[in-house]
Symmetry: C2
Subunit: 189 residues, 2 copies
DNA sequence: CCGCTCATGTAACAGGTTACATGATTTA
DNA sequence: TAAATCATGTAACCTGTTACATGAGCGG
């Protein structure tokens, strides 16, 4: 039961439709949680059933009608309760790490390719997050925004996402460099 | 089908029993993948059935017998195939991030407590990983080990784990500091 | 004698992924 | 005219978590 709270947290800032929420939790954008659209729709149904969010139908012209959801008082209370419980640390689970663990026993050419791909992906997320942060803080300096800004939650999670992707990129580049160096050393043998 | 490859990768270095593997993938030690013991045993059964690992019974005195597993040629080939396929980037999924996303809408006292807890946990993993790295490289300098060491896969994944936990710790401390500062600012209003 | 480590599992459940389905409108 | 976007779901499946079960030896 974790997606529930992620959805509630996402709805704190604005009324959103299932479709918009699905995009928030999509791979490209997700800075604090990730989920498939199907999961989001299913969760919204459950949340509404449990009275933690309330939806209202909005008629649109030229495109399908949509339902906008907002957090109810019960939903707010549930978030409060959730925050009070300890969050168990995320377990490391990344295919790329498994592949690197197997280095020296698999083809390093392909492994270097995987690392290079991932570094590029991380870079694109870095660009995305940097832009989001700039938008959030507007013309204020970061320190000032963090002290006096009206809402820092999303900013802090975005900072985490940025740092994480920078780490990803740097580590991938380092690992790729190491494997390349070793190939040269090996050839010399 | 990801745990399979993690198990295969773990068995590259040594013949291990299910029990030993379970510890490798346990929360405390896992530097490249995490899984419950039950999952490990189940996966081993499947891997053996598929001929990717081979187990041999080892009789012991004073304690239960155990089965040691090693990677077969087919298992090696499977790992090779796996490495050739692109690994999809890990999706961010951390309860703590959700809690921080909701900051400004929930009690910051408890949130700061959560962040402090996590920072301490991260620190303990930093210590653990630092020790593992020292053990792996022995008396060699890191650069030298990475260039000429016989096996760098585990070292690289451990480096990733270390960097990740350092990031965790730093971010948690930063976020907690920001929330504390804001409480002061708020009181002054 | 209590709890820990070694050693291996089964069963039920919760959570997440993939595939499939529909249908209108806007953009290239 | 093909593809992308808006908008919402169902169903089957795979993966991971939690609870439970067993049994011997070892250390405090």
């Amino acid at each position: 039961m974790a997606l529930r709270h992620a959805v509630l947290a996402a709805l704190l800032d604005a009324e959103l439709s299932g479709y918009q929420l699905a995009k928030v939790f999509d791979l490209g954008v997700a800075n604090f949680w990730h989920a498939q659209p199907q999961q989001v729709y299913a969760e919204l149904t459950r949340l509404e059933h449990d009275g933690l969010v309330a939806g209202r139908e909005v008629a649109q012209e030229g495109r399908p009608n949509k339902r906008l959801f907002r957090v109810t008082d019960a939903g707010q209370a549930e978030l409060e309760r959730f925050t009070a419980t300890a969050a168990k640390p995320t377990a490391m689970r990344d295919d790329l790490l498994v592949q690197v663990q197997a280095a020296d026993h698999v083809d390093d050419e392909t492994l270097i390719a995987r690392l290079t791909e991932r570094a590029a992906f991380a870079q694109s997320k870095i660009d995305l997050f940097s832009g989001l942060l700039r938008t959030m803080r507007g013309d204020r300096a970061e320190e000032e925004f963090l002290r006096y800004g009206e809402r820092v939650g999303p900013y802090l999670t975005c900072l985490a996402g940025l740092a994480f992707e920078q780490l990803n990129r740097d580590w991938c580049e380092r690992a790729a460099a190491v494997l390349k160096e070793r190939r040269k050393a090996h050839v010399r043998d």
